[in-house]
C-alpha cells in the first residue's frame, strides 16, 4: 500500500511539470505586454527595457521556465509583478478561504447528493423519484452566478440572515458553498441513483432480504457500500470541479481566495502568480485524487488487495 502511495506521489511530478510547462508556453504565446501594464502608457523606452531585463523577459521562454521552476523547487515562487509581494505569502493568505469553500461545497455535495440519490433509487419510478430528478435537473440548469445572486437577495438583503459577502465566520461560507455545490449536487444525485439501481436488484441484496434483513439494513449494509465505488470516484472530480468553480463564488460573494487571485493575474500577465498558483493547485488536486484512491481501498477490500499485490 505504501509502495502504491509513493508511486502515486512520484507521478505528481510529471503531472506538475506537464501542466506548468503548458501554462507557461500558453502565457508566452498569448498577446499582451505585462511591462505596459506595470509601467503605464507614459513609461519611457529606457524604463521599458530596464524592467524587461529585470523581469528576465528578454530571455528565451524555456530558459525563463527553467529558471522559474528551479526557484520553485527551492520553495521560491517569486514575487508578483503587479503588487511586488511574494506569491507564496499571498497564496497562503488566500488558500484557506478557497479550501474552506471547496470543501464545504464537497461536503454539501456528498450529503445532499447521497441522500437524495438514495431516496430516488429506493423509491424508483415514484413521485419522490420524479421530484428528485426534476430537482437535480433544476440544479444542473441554474448558473452559479445567477443562483448566487438570488441567494444574496433572499438571504442577505430580504431576510438579513446571512452576510452578502466577505469571509470571517461560518455564516459567510453558507451562501457561496450552496451556490457552488448546486451543479455538483445534481450530478451526484443522478450518479448515486444509477449506481444504487445497478446494485439494488443484485442477487446478494435479494438474499439479504430473504434472510430477513430490514430495508434500512439492506440499503446501508449491502446496497450503498457496494454502490459507492463510482460515487466516490466522482468525489475527486467533484472536488476538482468545486475548486475550479470557486472563481464564480469568490467573485460573486467577494471572497479573497486563490481563484480570484489567479484570474486577476492572468488578466495582467502576472506570470509568477499564475505559475505559483497553478503549481500548488495541481498538487492539491493530485493529492485529493490520491486520497480518493486510498478511500477505495477502505471501501472495497478487493482494491486493497490489488494495491498490495
Amino acid at each position: 500500500m505504501l509502495k502504491y502511495i509513493a508511486k502515486r506521489l512520484l507521478l505528481i511530478i510529471p503531472v506538475v511539470i506537464g501542466i506548468t510547462l503548458f501554462i507557461y508556453l500558453l502565457l508566452d504565446l498569448a498577446p499582451g505586454d505585462p511591462i505596459a501594464i506595470i509601467l503605464g502608457p507614459d513609461a519611457s523606452p529606457e524604463q521599458i527595457s530596464q524592467l524587461t531585463a529585470e523581469l528576465g523577459l528578454d530571455k528565451n521562454v524555456f530558459v525563463r521556465y527553467l529558471n522559474f521552476m528551479s526557484d520553485a523547487i527551492k520553495g521560491d515562487l517569486g514575487t508578483s509583478w503587479m503588487t511586488s509581494k511574494p506569491v507564496a505569502d499571498e497564496f497562503l493568505q488566500r488558500l484557506p478561504n478557497t479550501l474552506a469553500l471547496a470543501f464545504s461545497a464537497l461536503a454539501m455535495t456528498i450529503v445532499f447528493g447521497l441522500t437524495f440519490g438514495t431516496i430516488a433509487a429506493v423509491w424508483q419510478n415514484t413521485a419522490i423519484d420524479g421530484f428528485t430528478l426534476i430537482l437535480a435537473l433544476l440544479f444542473a440548469s441554474m448558473p452559479t452566478f445567477w443562483f448566487g445572486l438570488m441567494l444574496q437577495i433572499i438571504f442577505a438583503l430580504n431576510l438579513g440572515w446571512l452576510p452578502a459577502m466577505g469571509v470571517g465566520t461560518i455564516k459567510h461560507i453558507i451562501l457561496p458553498a450552496t451556490a457552488l455545490s448546486l451543479g455538483t449536487i445534481a450530478s451526484q444525485i443522478r450518479l448515486t441513483r444509477s449506481s444504487i439501481l445497478d446494485v439494488i436488484n443484485m442477487n446478494y441484496v435479494r438474499t439479504a432480504r430473504a434472510k430477513g434483513a430490514g430495508g434500512f439494513r439492506t440499503v446501508f449494509s449491502h446496497v450503498i457500500r457496494n454502490a459507492l465505488m463510482p460515487v466516490v470516484t466522482n468525489w475527486g472530480l467533484t472536488f476538482a470541479t468545486a475548486f475550479g468553480g470557486t472563481i464564480i463564488s469568490e467573485t460573486v460573494f467577494s471572497i479573497p481566495g486563490i481563484s480570484s487571485y489567479l484570474i486577476n493575474a492572468v488578466k495582467v500577465r502576472d506570470i509568477p502568480v499564475v505559475m505559483g498558483t497553478v503549481i500548488i493547485v495541481s498538487i492539491i488536486v493530485a493529492v485529493i485524487n490520491l486520497i480518493i484512491d486510498i478511500i477505495y481501498a477502505v471501501i472495497d477490500p478487493r482494491v486493497k488487495l490489488g494495491y498490495m499485490s
Binding site: G40, D42, I128, I153, G160, A164, T251, V268
Partner: protein, 540 residues
C-alpha cells in the same frame, strides 16, 4: 412503511449534518451581535435609524478594484484604488477645491507663491503637523518625497521640467523648475503630492518597509491589509484638521458590482465608490442614495498613424468618421445622458482649455459625414477598431459602429483585454483606430502631450507620423512652457484647431465617477475628476 421511515431518517441525517456542519447562529460567537444589528436595522424604517447611527463607529467602504500600494513612492504606476488609501493615510501638499471652481489651495502647504518667470514655487508648510509615528513634518520630508517621486513613473509623467527642491528652513522650501510648466500646480494636486516621512523611510529600509506599514499625516492610520479582502484603518485622534467621525474604516474589495450594490443595500457596507452607472440607475431602495460626477478619464479614439496605414493617409475618411459619430447617442446609451459630448479633451474645469465657441468645432452631421466619405478613398473595406473588452469603451464602440454604418462605413470592433490591446497597438499594424480610456491627472490641456502627440513616441508605435506633427509638437511644447494663462489659451486654441480640422483625434465622452451610500450619510459625494474621496468628511 419501511421505505418511508428510511426516507425520513435520511432526510433528518441530511439536514442535521448540513446544519451542524455549517453551524447555527448560536454556535457562532459573533453571530448574535451581528444578527441583532441586522434585525434592528430591518425593524425600523431607514429614517428612524438615524438617531442610533452615531453609535456606528466603523465605516465600510466598498471598491471594485483592490488597493495594492499604500505609499505613492512605488516604482510602478500607482492605481487609482491606491489613491483611496493615500487620501486617508496621507495629506496632500495642495488640493483642488471643487467648491471654489477647482482653485488650487494649500493643504499641508500654508501658503505658496509662484515666481514671475514660473520657474520657482515657494512653499510654506503648516507648523505642528505630525506623522502617525510622532515625527514632525518638515521641509526635509517634502523634499524627500519630491526627490524620490521625480524618479518614479508617476513623477516622470507629471513633474515636467522638474529640477530640484531647495530647503530654506524647517517649514519653508522652494521647488525649482528648469522651465515653466503651465500645469505644475495641477500636477502637484495629483496623487504624487502625498507626503511621506523621510526618517521613517530610512528607518524601515525603503519602499518595501514603508508600504507594509505606512505612516502619513492623514486623518486615519493604517492598521493592516489582507490581500484581496480589505484594508483596515483607525482614526488619527491627533489629526491637525479635526477628528474624523468614524473610529475605524474598512476598505473592502468587491469585484462583482451587483454584490457591491447589495452590500450597501443590506447595510454590510456604508459606501460603494465608482460603481458603473448601469448598476445604479435601477436601484430603487429608500435605504440608499447615489451621486455622480464627471471623471478625469476620457474615452478617446486614436488613429493608426503609421506611414503605411490607409486611415493615416486619408483625411477625408477621418473627417467622415469625425462627423459620423453620434456622441449624444453614446451618452444616452452608455451613460444614460449623464456625461458630455466633447469635441476636444476634458471639460470646462481643465486649465488651458479654450472656451466653447473660440475654436473650430464639429458636431454629428450625417450628411456632412457622407460627403467626406464620398470624397475619400474608402472602398468599403473593414475599418478595424480595437478597444478594451467589457468596458464602457466597447459599448461606445458599438454605438459608434451603428452610427458609422449609416454613413456607409463598415466598422469592425475588436474588443480585447488591455494587455493584448497595448501589444497590438504598439507592435503591429493590424488596426486602423483604437478606442481607449486615459486619465489626465494634470487636468490640463497638456494632457494632449500624453494622449496623442509624437512627443511621446513610446506611447504607441514609435514610427507613427501624425499629420502636422511638427506644428502640433511645437504648440504642445509652447503651451507647456508658457507661464501666461491667456497666451496658453491662444496656443491651445491653435492646437485644437489643427486637431479638429485634420480629425487627428476624437474624444468620445468623459467617464463618470459614482458614489452609492446609505441614506442619511453626509459628506459623501462622487469625486469630481480625480478620485480622492476623503472618508474624514463622511458622517451619519
Amino acid at each position: 412503511m419501511k421505505k418511508r421511515s428510511l426516507a425520513l431518517l435520511l432526510a433528518i441525517v441530511m439536514f442535521a449534518t448540513v446544519f451542524t456542519g455549517c453551524g447555527s447562529p448560536k454556535s457562532e460567537p459573533a453571530a448574535p451581535e451581528a444578527a441583532k444589528t441586522e434585525e434592528a436595522a430591518k425593524a425600523e424604517p431607514a429614517v428612524k435609524e438615524e438617531p442610533a447611527a452615531p453609535a456606528k463607529n466603523e465605516l465600510v467602504v466598498v471598491t471594485s478594484s483592490e488597493p495594492v500600494y499604500f505609499n505613492n513612492l512605488c516604482y510602478s504606476m500607482t492605481n487609482l484604488p491606491d489613491t483611496m488609501v493615500y487620501s486617508q493615510v496621507y495629506d496632500p501638499l495642495f488640493y483642488k477645491d471643487w467648491a471654489d471652481g477647482g482653485a488650487v489651495k494649500g493643504y499641508l502647504a500654508e501658503s505658496y507663491e509662484i515666481s514671475e518667470d514660473g520657474k520657482h514655487i515657494s512653499v510654506k508648510l503648516r507648523d505642528n503637523i505630525y506623522f502617525h509615528n510622532g515625527d514632525k513634518l518638515t521641509s526635509e520630508d517634502v523634499k524627500f518625497t519630491f526627490d524620490e517621486m521625480a524618479q518614479r513613473t508617476l513623477g516622470i509623467a507629471l513633474l515636467i521640467n522638474w529640477e530640484s527642491v531647495e530647503i530654506v528652513d524647517e517649514l519653508n522650501l522652494v521647488f525649482h523648475l528648469t522651465a515653466p510648466y503651465g500645469a505644475i500646480m495641477n500636477a502637484l494636486c495629483s496623487r504624487l503630492g502625498y507626503i511621506s516621512s523621510k526618517e521613517y523611510w530610512e528607518e524601515v529600509g525603503g519602499f518595501e518597509g514603508y508600504n507594509a506599514a505606512p505612516v502619513g499625516t492623514g486623518p486615519y492610520k493604517f492598521v493592516s491589509a489582507i490581500s484581496g479582502d480589505e484594508v483596515s484603518l483607525v482614526r488619527n485622534d491627533e489629526y491637525w484638521n479635526g477628528k474624523a467621525a468614524f473610529e475605524t474604516v474598512k476598505i473592502k474589495t468587491v469585484a462583482d458590482v451587483n454584490t457591491a450594490v447589495l452590500a450597501v443595500e443590506s447595510g454590510d457596507a456604508d459606501v460603494a465608490l465608482n460603481l458603473p452607472l448601469e448598476s445604479l440607475v435601477n436601484v430603487k431602495n429608500p435605504d440608499v442614495e447615489w451621486a455622480y460626477d464627471l471623471s478625469f478619464e476620457c474615452g478617446y479614439m486614436q488613429w493608426n498613424f503609421l506611414p503605411e496605414s490607409w486611415v493615416a493617409n486619408d483625411t477625408n475618411f477621418r473627417k467622415a468618421v469625425q462627423y459620423g459619430i453620434d456622441k449624444e447617442a453614446i451618452n444616452q446609451a452608455v451613460f444614460y445622458g449623464m456625461t458630455n459630448t466633447p469635441d476636444i479633451l476634458g471639460d470646462e474645469t481643465w486649465t488651458g482649455r479654450p472656451a466653447a465657441g473660440t475654436y473650430d468645432s464639429y458636431s454629428y452631421d450625417l450628411e456632412k459625414a457622407k460627403e467626406y466619405l464620398a470624397a475619400s478613398n474608402y472602398d468599403g473595406r473593414e475599418f478595424v477598431v480595437y478597444t478594451w473588452a467589457a468596458t464602457n469603451l466597447e459599448k461606445a464602440a458599438q454605438v459608434m459602429q451603428a452610427s458609422l454604418q449609416q454613413v456607409g462605413i463598415n466598422m469592425k470592433i475588436v474588443a480585447v483585454d488591455r494587455a493584448s490591446f497595448w501589444d497590438v497597438c504598439r507592435n503591429t499594424n493590424d488596426w486602423d483606430a483604437c478606442i481607449h480610456c486615459l486619465g489626465a491627472s494634470s487636468l490640463d490641456m497638456d494632457a494632449y502631450n500624453h494622449f496623442m502627440t509624437t512627443m511621446y513616441p513610446q506611447y504607441f508605435n514609435a514610427n507613427q507620423v501624425v499629420p502636422y506633427g511638427t506644428e502640433l509638437n511645437d504648440l504642445v511644447l509652447a503651451g507647456r512652457l508658457e507661464p501666461n494663462y491667456e497666451k496658453r489659451l491662444e496656443i491651445y486654441t491653435e492646437l485644437v484647431n489643427y486637431i479638429n480640422n485634420e480629425a487627428i483625434s476624437i474624444p468620445l465622452y468623459q467617464e463618470i465617477n459614482t458614489a452609492l451610500f446609505r441614506t442619511g450619510m453626509k459628506g459623501v459625494q462622487a469625486d469630481r475628476a480625480v478620485p480622492i474621496n476623503r472618508f474624514f468628511e463622511y458622517t451619519y
